[in-house]
């Protein structure tokens, strides 16, 4: 199946001379949730803004649903809903009127039933006559989503949807995203919360300094990049790691209470059995053994450091 969004060698240099995108190539499959993960200033918002028509690319091409975003912008943009990072709403408008406006802007005639459905979906129906300035921050963000969904887009861009949102609302947002995915909407979200990408994304793209470092299935990424650690709790603490265990690059933790062995679980031999034997031979008594997995965060920090160096 052809990708629903296809980005080819997209470059963007602002008038100030700052290069935000250095040749991004990315395919987004229909129906997936893609999380673009990257530190502040990595180019996430510029990438989204360019696809949506808010900024113009310096070079490169983008097609949305097979339509070029410049030559065939009407068809391309009709497929897209955008939720910006900043909460930008007309303060004196009611929820209903601002959603009606968005729907009209995208060429759809007024349809009270359609707007009601969107407002109910986002639990905004009770607030339909409230002015946007009377709403809480979380509610206002939902209004932005309602506006973006008002014309029934097939692709939804969420730029930092949970920035500055409390934990409960964040979970709420994730549920909304999951519901939309179930309805077949393709979702691209940017975030610098790794937890977020880990919790809801199907694929993760890591972007740093205007370049996509990698795009991969979330599980595969964790598996591929993930190192596992074996933590050996000792019955009695050791002052130093015995010389006979020098090959394992063990680390002491908790003042010698624990020894940590890092291994690659994709490797043919993890070396665990040999280590346990050698520990025994060195006369150390084990109190407990556990393993732990590196989180996406550690992978991410490692990757960004690697390329930054």
């Amino acid at each position: 199946m052809a990708p629903i969004v296809s980005i080819r060698d997209l470059k963007k240099t602002y008038a100030s001379g700052f290069t935000a995108l250095k040749g991004v190539t990315l395919d987004i499959e229909e129906g997936e949730i893609l999380a673009l993960l990257g530190p502040n200033g990595a180019g996430k918002t510029t990438l989204i803004s360019t696809v949506c028509g808010i900024t113009t690319a310096t070079s490169g091409t983008v097609t949305v649903g097979g339509h070029d975003i410049i030559d065939d912008y009407r068809a391309a943009r009709s497929l897209i809903g955008l939720v910006p990072q900043e909460i930008s709403l007309e303060p004196f408008e009611t929820v209903t009127s601002t959603v009606n406006f968005s729907r009209g802007l995208f060429g759809h005639p007024r349809d009270a039933a359609a707007v009601e459905a969107v407002l109910r979906q986002l639990s905004l129906w009770d607030k339909r006559d409230a002015k946007t300035m009377e709403l809480s921050g979380g509610m206002r963000r939902r209004v932005l989503i309602a506006k973006a969904l008002s014309h029934g887009p097939r692709i939804l861009f969420l730029d930092e949807p949970t920035a500055g949102v409390d934990v409960e609302l964040r979970r709420d947002m994730w549920e909304t995203v999951a519901k939309l995915k179930a309805e077949g909407v393709t979702i691209i979200l940017t975030t610098h919360y790794i937890e977020e990408a880990e919790a809801i994304a199907d694929r993760i793209g890591i972007i740093s300094d205007g370049e996509i470092l990698l795009v991969e299935e979330k599980e595969a990424l964790i598996r591929r990049m993930g190192q596992k650690q074996l933590v050996v709790e000792l019955a009695e603490p050791v002052e130093a790691i015995p010389e006979s265990l020098g090959d394992y690059a063990l680390e002491r933790e908790g003042g010698g209470d624990r020894l940590v062995y890092t291994y690659d679980r994709q490797a043919e031999r993890t070396g665990i059995r040999r280590l346990l034997n050698d520990l025994d031979a060195a006369g150390l008594t084990l109190a407990d053994v556990q393993t732990r997995e590196s989180s996406l965060e550690e992978i991410f920090v490692g990757l960004v450091k690697e390329t930054g160096a």
Partner: protein, 253 residues
């Protein structure tokens, strides 16, 4: 053509107008009434008729123009500046609407509002002076064209402005002086010859003159020039807007 988008913008803007109807209408009507009291009654009683028209009646077209010009510029400039200021412009830029459609929505709404105000002031004038309108169709044509062209101009100002101060700068420092010096309150034949020549470079002169002709059949400049001036100004504004949208000046980075 995304006509629905034009209508959506128009309705949205008109809803804003009607929400603030009282202050939008009361202040121009009040200030115009004050002009009538001061210029028409107090000072006007000491001024002779101008070419057979009482001074109070003579200034009516100029007063309407003053309000319509200032209102058109400020309505249209605010209309597009506000989304820029609060950030909601992202929606206009990402919508499947051409710049022509976006401009049409905002400019038509701003022009409608100033047309309404112009007509209300005209109605107010009937209470103060003896008015006659010799060419009502031309009068309406001039009024509508002026509303449209200066709303286009205001739209440009709104895109250009980067602060509320700049937004007010042009109506205050450019439009108002041009209207006052453009023969709103006098016939340029009352001026010394040098100033008559200088005034000919003031575009507002042509608007006021043509508009006044539609009332009393008298004008400072020939009707053809007035029409040409307003059409030329409209054309220039459209050209600038086309350029803005091609280059994305101050709206699309």
């Amino acid at each position: 053509m995304n006509l629905t988008a034009v209508i959506a913008i128009y309705r949205f803007e008109m809803a804003r107008t009607f929400r603030t109807l009282l202050q939008s209408v009361v202040s121009p009507v009040l200030s115009t009434s004050l002009y009538f009291v001061v210029f028409g009654a107090a000072i006007g009683s000491r001024i002779d008729e101008v070419e057979g028209v009482s001074y109070g009646a003579f200034i009516v077209p100029g007063l309407i123009m003053l309000s319509v010009l200032v209102q058109s510029v400020s309505n249209a400039s605010f209309g597009i500046y506000f989304p820029k200021f609060i950030g909601t412009i992202y929606e206009l830029l990402s919508a499947p609407a051409s710049f022509l459609e976006i401009t049409a929505g905002y400019v038509l709404a701003a022009a409608t509002k100033s047309l309404m105000i112009g007509l209300i002031i005209l109605a107010t004038a009937f209470f103060f002076v003896d008015l006659r309108i010799e060419h009502p169709v031309w009068m309406l044509l001039f009024l509508v064209l002026t509303c449209l062209s200066f709303s286009l101009f205001g739209f440009i100002i709104g895109i250009w402005a980067q602060s509320f101060e700049q937004l007010q700068l042009v109506p205050l420092l450019v439009v108002t002086p041009l209207v006052f010096l453009g023969g709103s309150f006098y016939s340029i034949s009352m001026l010394p010859p040098v100033w008559q020549t200088i005034t000919l470079f003031n575009p507002v002169l042509y608007l006021v003159s043509g508009f006044r002709w539609s009332f009393y059949g008298m004008s400072d400049v020939a009707l053809g020039w007035s029409l040409l001036a307003i059409l030329g100004f409209t054309g220039a504004c459209i050209a600038v807007i086309a350029w803005i949208f091609r280059t994305g000046y101050r709206i699309r980075q």
